[in-house]
Amino acid sequence: MAEELKYTEEHEWLSVDGDVVSIGITEYAQEALGELVYVELPEVGDRVEKGGDFAVVESVKVASEVYSPVAGEIIEVNSALEDEPNDVKKSIEEGWIVKIKVDDASALDGLMTKKDYTEFLENLDD
């Protein structure tokens, strides 16, 4: 697993390992959703486009799509989440939702760093 995570404005975190990324949802999203009831996962082999949604996390009050900032193919899904949806709130090792083999690794360079994301959150609450 890479040392530094990347972030998106839709509150996903990405852990980059060569051309494979693991994607999960940030603490901000976890807080907003509250206790999760279901996670709807894609199938291995599904394609995801840049900005497309690949999963749904559902709490009592709302269902939220999870988006990928990069195009690629789903190579692994975290099936443990089907029985324990609240595991998305655990560590990176347990909370990842999918692993995507990205079409173009250079697309990951432009994503927000932790510093960028922290700043982004501060401006959100205004």
Partner: protein
Amino acid sequence: MTKQTALYDLHVAQGAKMVPFAGYSMPIQYKDGVIKEHEWVRSKAGIFDVSHMGQVMVEGEGAAEFFSYITPSNFLKTPHGRAKYTVLTNEQGGIIDDLIITRVHDTKFFVVINAACKEKDIAWMKKHLTGGLTLTALDDRSLIAVQGQQAQKVVSALLDTDLSSQAYMTFKTASFNGNEVFVSRLGYTGEDGFEISVSNADAPALWSALSDCDEIKPIGLGARDTLRLEMGYPLYGHDINDETSPIDADLGWVVPKQHLGFIGGVRILKEKEDGTATKRIGFKITDKGIAREGAEIYSTEGNKIGIVTSGGFSPTLGEAIGQGYVEAAFAQSGNSIKIRVRKNDLAATVANLPLVAPKTKSMKV
């Protein structure tokens, strides 16, 4: 401008997440979250601020006849202190609102109406008010619900009055802070409990005193919804509206056999005879996923047969549940149906309401 109840500051101090609801800023949940709040009500007792709902007093000669005309229910022989769940109907037999009407005394009736329907209901009642009757909106009063197994113990102690002999669906007065409160043994959760009408001035002190009890937690509208969904209670504007009749809505029991002429009676009594094209049903989803309002319901053959009007997750059952309307032929309990959620058709079963057994007696009195 969003309105606030007298308890707004207390909710915020207790860590509530406030959301707009029926023109008010109301707590959707507190720090524990919807599921834990729901479970607390089902095991101990929770308090709910329902002051956004309307409270009205109607007094004068002919009051019982008046309510017997604007609802399908019969109030002429209703004993003092008896509360009835019923509906206001329009000329087409549709439901204007569902409400609780209590005969406090021969010619004095206490009415609690939905927040979203307050202005509409009051205007409707005033329009049909007969000479000699007065209608007073009790705008200076709040309403606090205490629901759960510990409710009787807590409220009896706080109001210094023995509530153990107060029957379900009855009303009595008591005292708090030297002022009169109304205590109705009923609620929207299926648990034993009370709705306490208290002056706006005394409401914060009552809420705080209740909150101080170990057995009590404050509960938001999120859990209020999951609790009533388990009971199969309709939510006005979603499961019932001015086009659904009480017969469509599976509320035929509010139309007693010995009826008087009432508004909308022609359609309603005909439907009671002949049945309706669609019926309100409960459902439980066996696949993983929650169906929410607006989701389409299909037969197992793939024909569209209805629509979801309310849906959510049941913490007690650990399944997604809800209510909807389907063509009458498909409305039997146990029937397999499919509900379309995003790209998936979730397998579900029609289920009799209530979906979870209530702890209260039946409201069908």
